[in-house]
């Protein structure tokens, strides 16, 4: 399906990051839950920050995962964008 080089390095980088995030979350499950659900101060930011951090690492990992397996977007991608501008 794909002849280009596989992104093994990126897969490892994102994979380690993703694993570390999930390990930190579930090895400290009770403390995390107790802290993240506090309604005083700015503790509400914690779930939002964690979601962004995990989406960065795990999003990168899952993207590389399919690429390494050879599952990639069809090339050329269907043209959803035309170059010509719409008349103003």
């Amino acid at each position: 399906m794909s002849t280009s080089a596989k992104p093994w390095g990126k897969l490892a980088y994102y994979g380690v990051g993703s694993f570390a995030c999930y390990a930190a979350l579930f090895m400290n499950e009770r403390e995390v839950l107790a802290t993240f659900t506090r309604t005083d101060g700015a503790y509400w930011l914690l779930p939002v920050i964690v979601a962004f951090v995990i989406s960065y690492f795990h999003g990168g990992f899952t993207g590389c995962f399919w690429e390494v397996l050879g599952v990639q977007a069809k090339k050329p991608v269907p043209k959803a964008v035309e170059k010509e501008e719409i008349e103003e």
Binding site: T37, V48, S55, G59, T62, V77, A80
Partner: protein
Amino acid sequence: MTEQLFIELNFQAVVFLLIIGFIGGLVSGFIGSGGAFVLTPGMMSLGVPGLVAVASNICHKFPKALVGAIKRHKFGQVDVKLGLSMAVTASLGMWWGSNIQKSIKATYGEAGSNLYVSAAFVIVLTIVGLFVLRDAVRIYRSGDTSGEEEVGRLARWVQSVEIPGTMVTFHVAKTRVSFLFILPLGFATGLLASTIAVGGFVGVPGMMYVLGASSLVASATELVIAFVMGLGGTINFAMSGYVDIRLAMLILLASLFGIQLGAIGTTYVHPYMIKVVMATIMLIVAVSRAIVVPVYLAQLGYMALDAATADILKKVSFVFMVAALAAGALIIIGAMIRGHRRQATA
């Protein structure tokens, strides 16, 4: 608070969340939304309180939508300007919708609220689902399934209406419309999102049939709306301490595999398949919600129904919901495989 609101996770619960998360992600990557209607009741069936289920679902939704939107943006399918315009107006709709929900709950109780949600599901999804299905069948019968989609009559009229000072051009969606048409469309998307948790069932068809965006662009742009609304919803629930980050991140763990695959799938299939998947899911979900309407009518005293029958109806309804998601996923995978074979033999 922690002990009452948050469940102990066991192996079965984790596997269940991962499977539903993956399928939900696959569908979201392909049609721009989906999964929430199964995930929320699914979590509740594990013993998660309703509010925590809604909050945790929305907390997994915004990072998922972000990853999906970035992926599909790389394919040139996302109209960020349209997505943000819709998201702003959808936020108003969401606020209005949550007020309606609160008012109904205060007047008619839990059963009244459930009946309202089910009625919204059945009416909206049946009408919109049949419309989308009819369009997909028309394209299929025309024989030109791989060509560029035609802009419908309503969208052509909307594009022809010139209201000075309100016209906005969306380059990726290849449309120029008055913001006064975006306003009610985004509002309806937010209203539906606050009612049935899947605003995309109005947002995506709206962008296609009212604004004239292609199904590829509409479904990809919906991910921007889902991100903005999901982020806002998460902040709102997190401030009240309802987000179970474990549940949200477990679902996200699997759903990101799914959303990447669903997004890749859009590049292999004929664009009308997005309409086929969307219509199929909408119509099966409408049936699922219609099945439980007698339960809520009985709870409100409008009809008689014994507890055993009510329990069976609820279970059958949930099975239909899961079937809707599974049917959507099967159509997507089948279409991807066919699309890949076409490319291989071309």
